[in-house]
Every structure is written in C-alpha cells, then in structure tokens.
C-alpha cells in the first residue's frame, strides 16, 4: 500500500491556502490541512475540505469532443487538434489574426496563463487575450497602478493579524475569503477596530464597531466624505502627504465638496456615522483598507479604487506593515493570470505591448517572424460585442464560463452562437462548452504541476497528486501541442518547470522565482527580482513604485442604471460561502450542494409583505435585459428596496439580469448595481 500527502495550493479563492491531498494507491481520498502553512495555519473552509469531490465528479470530461450536426461525439486528440489547426489557419487566412479572441483562465496555473497569451501573441499574432479578471479586479489593476504604480494588493495576509483598524468595504470576507475573515475576527478579539461599509448585514456586521450601509454605487461619495472629515478635523498625515505624494491640493479641493450632510443625502448613511468612521480610521496607528467586488464592479470602479488609494495615502497608511490598500482577489490564480500577461495591454510582468522594446524582446524570445501588434487588444466584454457584430470569428476559451459569469447572458449566447468556430478547453461540459465546436478536456489542479499566485502576490506550488483522468491532459500540454501543430518550435516543454524558468527570464517581477526556491521556501511574494531576492511582503516601502503616490480628485457619479417607476428595486449580486463562481466546481460536490442546492433572491420583509411574497415562494425578478424565476429568501440582511442574488446558479442566473455597462477605463461591467422589478407569480 502507498499512502502519501501531497502539498498543493487550493483552487478556490485567492487566499492561497496550502493543504495536503491524501492519496492512497494513486487515488485522492481527501484533504489534510497543513499546520505549517503560513496562510491557513492548518485551518480550512468548507470548500477546501471537500475539494477532492469535484475532481472525481461524474461530469468530468475525459475525451475530446467534436460537434457534428449539433451533437457532440467523442474524438481522438489527433482528430481534435487537426480540426482546430485547419480551422484556425483558414480563419486567420480569410479574416486575419484580429478576428480571433482568446480567453485565458484565473483557475489555471501561471505557466498555463503564460502559454495562453504566448499562443495568442506569437501563434495567432493578436493581443485579443483577456480573462475574467476583467469582471472582478480590472478596476483595481488600473486604479492602483495609476495611484501607486502597481496594481496589486499592497500588504500581506499575515499582517492582518496585527492591524489596529480595518476598513472593509464590498468584501463579504468571512464568506468569500474565509481564512482572511478569520484573521480579521482574531484581530478584533485583540482589540482592533472594524469599520464595515456594506449595504448588507453580512456576518462581519456583528463584529463591526460601526457599520455604514450605503446605497449601492455611492462609494465615491462616502469615501470623499470620510476624507472631508479627516482633513477638517486635522487627522491628515501631513508628513507622509508632503514627502511621499503629489496632487494633494487638487484632491483637497474636490473632497471639500463632500460635507457629511451631503454624503448622507447621496449614500443614505447618517452623517454622524460618517464622522465616527472617519475618526476611527484617522486616529488608528495602522489602518488597513480591505475591499473586493463591491468596490470594483461598477461603472465607477476605477474611481472607487482611486478613492480608496486617496484615503490610505492621506492618513499615511501606505508602505508599512498592517496598512495599505488590499483588494482581495476572488480566484486562486486571478493575480497570476494578470501577472503573466493574460491581458490585452500587457506582456507578463505588466510590460506594456505599446512599448516597442518589450515587443522586440518577446518576439525574439518566442522565435517569431511576425510582429506583435502594438495596439491593445480587446477585453472580455468587448470580444463578446465584437463577436455579436461579426468582427470576431473565432474564440478559444480555456477554463472560463462566460455563459454564467458575464453580464447579460442572453447577449453572450447570441454572440457565441454567431462565431464561425469556438474551442473550449475545460474540465466540465459547461454552459459555454455546450456551444463549442470542439471541446478539449483539460485537467484539474490535482492532476498537474505548476504555480498559483495568491491575492497577496504569493507564488506557491501546485503539485500533481494523481494522474489525469481518462484521456484528459494538463492545459499547459494541450496549448503546447496545439502550438507545435500550428508550426511553432517555441513550445517544446518537458514540464511546467521549464515554462517557469522561461517566465523568470522574461519577467522581472518573477525573475527570482523557481521551483527549487519554492520547494525550499514554501512561497515567494513578488516583486522577486533575482535568485537572491527574498520577495516582497508589502509594497511601496520608502517609495512608491511610480515614485510619488498620486492623488486623484474624484467626483461622485451615480450608477449607470438607477431604480425608477418601472424597475423600482436595486439589484446587487455576489457570491456565497458554499459555492464558487459559476458553480461548475461546487454544485457537483454533495456536501456543498446539500447546503445550498439552488439560487435565491434576498428580499426585505417589508418589501415581501407589500408584494405579498412568502418565504421560499418562486417569484419573478426582471430587468431591462431579462427575467428569471427564483425562490424568495425573506431576510433583513438586505435593506428595503434592495435585493441580492448570488450568481452561481444557471437555472436562475443573476447575470441574465445584470447590466453590461462598462467602466470607461477598466471596461469592467457594473455587476453590482442595476434597476429591477420584483413580482409575485402566485406559485
């Protein structure tokens, strides 16, 4: 008998918990927490504990599929590859490389994201490569890069333990990042103050010193309001502002337009609470801002992020331990997918495609005869729109499910159906894969080697614990084989280790990261410039990446769609503890499905009463985009006139309703606010 425990990194949220997979005779039997892991410390959430079940779930794809006459049939790898190669070549010949779009995946490894963008840029020769970070933290990457010069979480998870104050907004931390949530609760028991800004009565509300329940989409107003009080009551860190930042006077001028009375009017938060919260934050020795989708998924996403950066800088809460602006990344490797250039505007390590030197460097390294276009490529939602308009003819999607995750699903469906050729590479036959011409079976994280980068820039190993199921192949191998068949000689890798070495040689941020060092040290946090560099626990110490931190004066703008007579409610969406994203990895896990088998809409008892809705009753929720039928969950968690729907459930998909209006800079859709109508249908 062989019994071993393989140390690997969790594939759910961005916390980056490492744990053991218990393997008996080649079969994964369960999870064993790792007590020495600095993030999880031997503790896990319900998804982590049950991770093995999705890997072996019945729905796993084990053979390539080709669609013929509207039906899938199993095919050999050779056949599938040959078909893809001939179609890719034909479409490229007829319509050019810009008729292609590639979606990489925040679920797959760094090595695989690197290869996907390398495939896009060197084989297809397009910058039309993006991934679902567009839907979650595109505004973070843009906003923080502008303010600080780097678009990532500034500080590290273990530092939360010792912070004196937290401003948590748009992050249901105990549900979405449980092992970060638990650290915040521990800090609270030690005496740390918690300021919670969230429309909903989430679990953290019970532990918050003050809870501001703003109207969805009014974040710039309350953030400016806090800064107004901080400036007016002399709580500005003058020294920091003078030495480390620029543009303060312009910020001040704008912020002084937001006295608490006016902020109360816009946000619905009592002015006394704005003042108290500002005093708690401004007086804290170390204060840490934690945010997530509640800040980013707005047409003002970049504005919201910049406002968080403003608040951190005027109080000097930057560049030291237990402070900072800390966007919590929602997926295991969404940080890595961004870092490795699965974005239409940058190569790995945020090296801009507009820069000729970088283009030349990569063209040479990738042995290219073609020139990489200098124009920025299309983003996720733009690709869908261009497909709808007939300009994108072919999509190659790896490990993403836009048919559930993207706003306005009806539109997404029409777009995907109007393509000439759709390739989907996944471990399940997702709603998106159903629409594909060819489906390639990738493997789960248990069946391959690689690295993930957690939310705090923590690069950690993913280690193969079991052999790939059936004929499935690790995604890095699929992309490499496909590239070779397209005629490239620059994709010949024996293992992901060789890909990581190539990444290190071309990406200064990851320059010192190697499998040997990760085995020795357990993790490395970027920037990690060379083999002697120990990595970076928190960013911007002594100097911002861009030199001086830049204040941006921000004027409040309302959301794109506000409630009106016809659509009197505000709809906001999000995740819940027991499921993950489009549900493909969690709804097949019996223990998770048992907890929450389907979606629901949270509605306040006063609204439910007025509309004659009973708890559990199937009701109709509609917006200008569409209608769904969904069970009502009557709860005081939501305020009156606001309803909340988790987006995991395809049978009552929140994203049929959501608004695809985009932030002008980051192109992130406004998934957090739209106007809706709620009706009883007497069922």
């Amino acid at each position: 008998m062989k019994y071993d425990n393989i140390l690997t990194t969790c594939p759910y949220c961005g916390c980056g918990c490492k744990y053991y997979i218990q393997v008996i005779n080649g079969v994964a039997k369960g999870v064993m927490p790792c007590k020495e892991d600095p993030v999880s410390e031997g503790k896990l959430c319900i998804k982590g504990w049950n991770v093995v079940d999705f890997v072996y779930s019945e729905g796993r794809l084990t053979k390539p599929l080709i669609k013929e006459n509207g039906k899938f049939r199993e095919a050999s790898w050779d056949e599938a590859y040959n078909l893809i190669v001939s179609k890719f070549k034909k479409i490229k010949e007829q319509h050019g490389p810009q008729a292609f779009g590639l979606l990489s995946s925040a679920k797959t490894t760094n090595e695989e994201n690197y290869l996907m963008q390398k495939f896009a840029r060197s084989i297809i020769v397009t910058n039309n490569v993006d991934h679902c970070a567009r839907l979650c933290h595109a505004s973070t990457v843009a906003g923080l890069a502008a303010a600080f010069g780097s678009g990532a979480m500034t500080n590290s998870i273990p530092e939360f333990e010792d912070a004196d104050c937290f401003l948590i907004t748009g992050s249901n931390t105990t549900e979405q990042h449980p092992l970060i949530g638990s650290r915040i609760l521990r800090a609270k028991e030690r005496g740390a103050k918690i300021i919670l800004v969230d429309p909903r009565l989430i679990q953290l509300a019970k532990f918050a010193d003050i809870h501001l329940r703003q109207k969805p989409g009014t974040d710039v107003a309350w953030l400016n309001g806090l800064m107004y009080v901080i400036i007016k009551d002399g709580l500005v860190d003058e020294e920091f502002v003078k030495n480390r930042t620029e543009n303060y006077e312009k910020l001040k001028k704008e912020v002084m337009n937001y006295p608490p009375e006016k902020v109360e009017e816009i946000t619905g938060v009592p002015k006394e609470d704005i003042i108290s919260a500002a005093h708690i934050f401004g007086n804290a020795k170390t204060a840490s801002i934690i945010y997530s989708m509640g800040i980013t998924q707005h047409t003002t996403g970049v504005d919201n992020v910049k406002s968080c950066a403003n608040l951190a800088m005027i109080t000097g809460n930057m560049g030291k331990a237990c402070t900072g602006v800390n966007p919590l990344r929602g997926q295991n490797n969404v940080q890595g997918a961004c870092d490795l250039g699965a974005l239409p505007n940058v190569f790995p390590g945020y090296q801009a495609v507009a820069n000729g030197e970088f283009r030349e460097k990569f063209e040479k390294a990738w042995k290219m005869d073609d020139k990489i276009p200098e124009n920025v490529g299309l983003t996720v939602v733009e690709m869908t729109n261009e497909a709808h308009a007939g300009n994108i003819k072919c999509l190659y999607i790896m490990g993403e499910n836009p048919m559930v995750s993207d706003p306005d699903i009806n539109h997404v469906k029409e777009s995907l159906e109007s393509l000439d050729f759709l390739v989907v590479q996944d471990i399940f036959l997702t709603e998106t894969a159903e629409l594909a011409d060819v489906v390639l079976p990738g493997t789960s994280f248990l069946e391959k080697d690689g690295t993930f980068t957690g939310t705090d820039r923590r690069v950690q190993r993913v280690r193969k614990a079991i052999e790939p199921l059936g004929e499935s192949k690790p995604d890095w191998l699929i992309i490499s084989e496909l590239a070779s068949r397209m005629g490239s000689s620059a994709f010949e890798y024996n293992s992901p280790k060789e890909i990581q070495d190539e990444i290190a040689s071309l990406t200064p941020l990851y320059g010192g990261i190697s499998y040997e060092r990760l085995d020795d040290l357990g993790y490395l946090q970027w920037p990690c410039l060379d083999k002697d560099h120990k990595g970076t626990v928190f960013l911007h110490k002594g100097k911002f990446t861009r030199g001086l931190g830049c204040f941006f004066p921000i004027t409040y703008k309302p959301p794109a769609e506000l409630p009106d007579k016809e659509y009197p409610f505000t709809l906001t969406t999000g995740r819940i503890l027991f499921h993950f994203h489009t549900g493909t990895m969690t709804r097949c896990v019996p223990k998770l499905d048992k907890e929450v088998p389907t979606g629901y809409v949270e509605i306040h008892p006063v609204d439910a009463d007025r509309l004659g809705i009973k708890d559990g009753e199937i009701i109709k929720v509609s917006t200008r985009r569409g209608t769904i039928n969904i069970p009502a969950y009557i709860t005081r968690k939501v305020p009156e006139k606001i309803v909340f729907i988790p987006f995991h459930f395809k049978e009552c998909a929140a994203n049929i309703l959501t608004n695809p209006a985009l932030d002008p800079i980051a192109k992130i859709p406004e998934l957090k606010v739209c106007a809706c109508k709620v009706e009883s249908i007497g069922e």
Binding site: M32, P33, C34, K43, C45, E175, L185, Q203, K594, E595
Partner: protein, 258 residues
C-alpha cells in the same frame, strides 16, 4: 528520541512484522502523515508536529482490512484507536503500537490529561502530569454570562465542519450536523446553539482530548472547553475515562442484545 525510534521502526519493516509504519515525515519544510514502507525513507521520520493519525489508520484499514501496520502514536492517538475499536471502526489486532510520550511543551499546548500512551518505546513519560487549565474561569461564570460568552464565540463560526472533519472519533457517514431537521442548511453562522451542541454531545464518552477540533477551527472557538466539561461529567456520572482499555465498557454506547 528520533534516532532511537527510527531504528525501532526500521527493524519492524526489515523483519516484515508490518507492511508499513504510519508516522510523520518531514518534507518541503513541513510535516505530514506518511506511510513508511521502506527502511531507506526512515531518515525523514520526525516526531514534532501532530496530526490525527488514528483517522488515517482507520482509512488505511478500510482500504485494505488485512494489512498489518505500525503506528507511531502519542497518548491521544492510542486513546482514539481504542475508542474506535470499541465501535468496530478499527481492528487493533492488525496494529502495532509504537508509543511515544509528549514533552511538556506539547502537553501544555493541548492541556492534555494524559500525554503518553500505555507503553513507550523511547523517551520518558511526564510522570505526575496535571494539566494546568481546569476551566475554573468558565465554571465560575453565571448562566447568563455563559450564554453571552458562547453566543459571541459561536457567532464567529464559518460552518467549515473542520471540527468534525479533523476529529478522529467523528466517523459517522451520515452526520447529524448535516440533517436539516436540526440545523438549517446554508446559513451562516449556523443556528445558535444547536450546531455546536449536537457535536459536543455526540462526543460525550468519545472525546479523547486530542484537540484537533480546536486546532482546525479557523475562528478560534474554544471547543476543547466544551469537550473537557463533558468529559468531566462523563467521569463524574459514570466513572468512565475514554481510551483507557478496550475492555472498559463505554456507558454511552447502547447495545442491542439479541
């Protein structure tokens, strides 16, 4: 202690007494449970850290009921194996116990009642060991204070079921914590206090005080306080201590006589 132990288990493997030795292995800067099957791996066997090895042993026996294995076990591991055997979850005849004592630091950390197994092959038992914490602070609280205390603690719960998953004595395939009759599904935190009370009561006469539940709790609920108090009750009411001898009848176990 380690070199001596390595020699001892190496001998068990070489002589063919057992097909494997379940113990802890040092790898990648961390320590993990591992089944040593070859003498040349024994150099990585370590005694520091602590994992619920009794659960692993039960899993291995289910995989191959006839296999004979050794286990490097602490007092709590041994007590867990004995309680599992009383419930037909494990076959002690196929287990060779390789007992090790806990040092003072470890015993203190767990507030252990008995930081050693019956027989040890290396090291020294902590003789006359008395745990420092007897939960007097908690016992002195009024009912009202207790309610406030537990409410505050249990509201933190993340419903990970980690306390149950890490427990060597939680082996039921159908767990009452997941029964909607008692605990509403999908709510966070789970309803107060039924979720945690069910677990605590189900451990009466079972809990061996290994502390794995509390170690696994992401939000630091003092679960061992509950377990300790119940263990005291079981001792006072029935004179029963868990995991002492396979022949001691468990007073909470109900048996149907045919």
């Amino acid at each position: 202690m380690e070199p001596e132990l390595r020699d001892y288990v190496g001998e068990l493997l070489d002589s063919g007494t057992v097909a494997g030795v379940l113990a802890l292995k040092d790898e990648l800067g961390a320590v993990k449970p591992y089944l040593f099957t070859k003498n040349n791996e024994i150099g990585d066997l370590v005694l520091t850290s602590k994992y619920p090895l009794a659960s692993v042993m039960s899993m291995l026996q289910k995989e191959d009921p006839s296999i004979k294995l050794a286990i490097v076990c602490r007092g709590c591991d041994e007590r867990a194996l004995i309680e599992l055997a009383k419930r037909n979850q494990i076959n002690l005849d196929n287990i060779v116990f390789v007992g090790i004592p806990c040092d003072e630091e470890m015993a203190d950390k767990c507030n252990c009642l008995q930081p050693y197994p019956k027989e040890i092959v290396t090291g020294e038992k902590l003789s006359n060991w008395v745990p420092k914490n007897n939960y007097e602070d908690f016992k002195n609280m009024s009912t009202e204070e207790k309610l406030i205390f537990w409410k505050g603690q249990l509201e933190k719960c993340n419903k990970c079921y980690g306390c149950r998953n890490a427990c060597p004595l939680c082996f039921c395939s159908d767990c009452e914590l997941e029964n909607a009759l008692w605990v509403k599904h999908g709510r966070l935190p789970p309803e107060f206090p039924i979720y945690h009370v069910i677990r605590a009561f189900h451990l009466a006469g079972k809990c061996v005080g290994c502390g794995e539940c509390e170690n696994a709790c992401p939000v630091g609920i003092p679960l061992m306080t509950l377990n300790h108090l119940l263990r005291e009750d079981i001792k006072d009411l029935f004179g029963y201590m868990t995991g002492q001898d396979i022949e001691d009848e468990n007073p909470i176990n109900t048996k149907e006589e045919y």
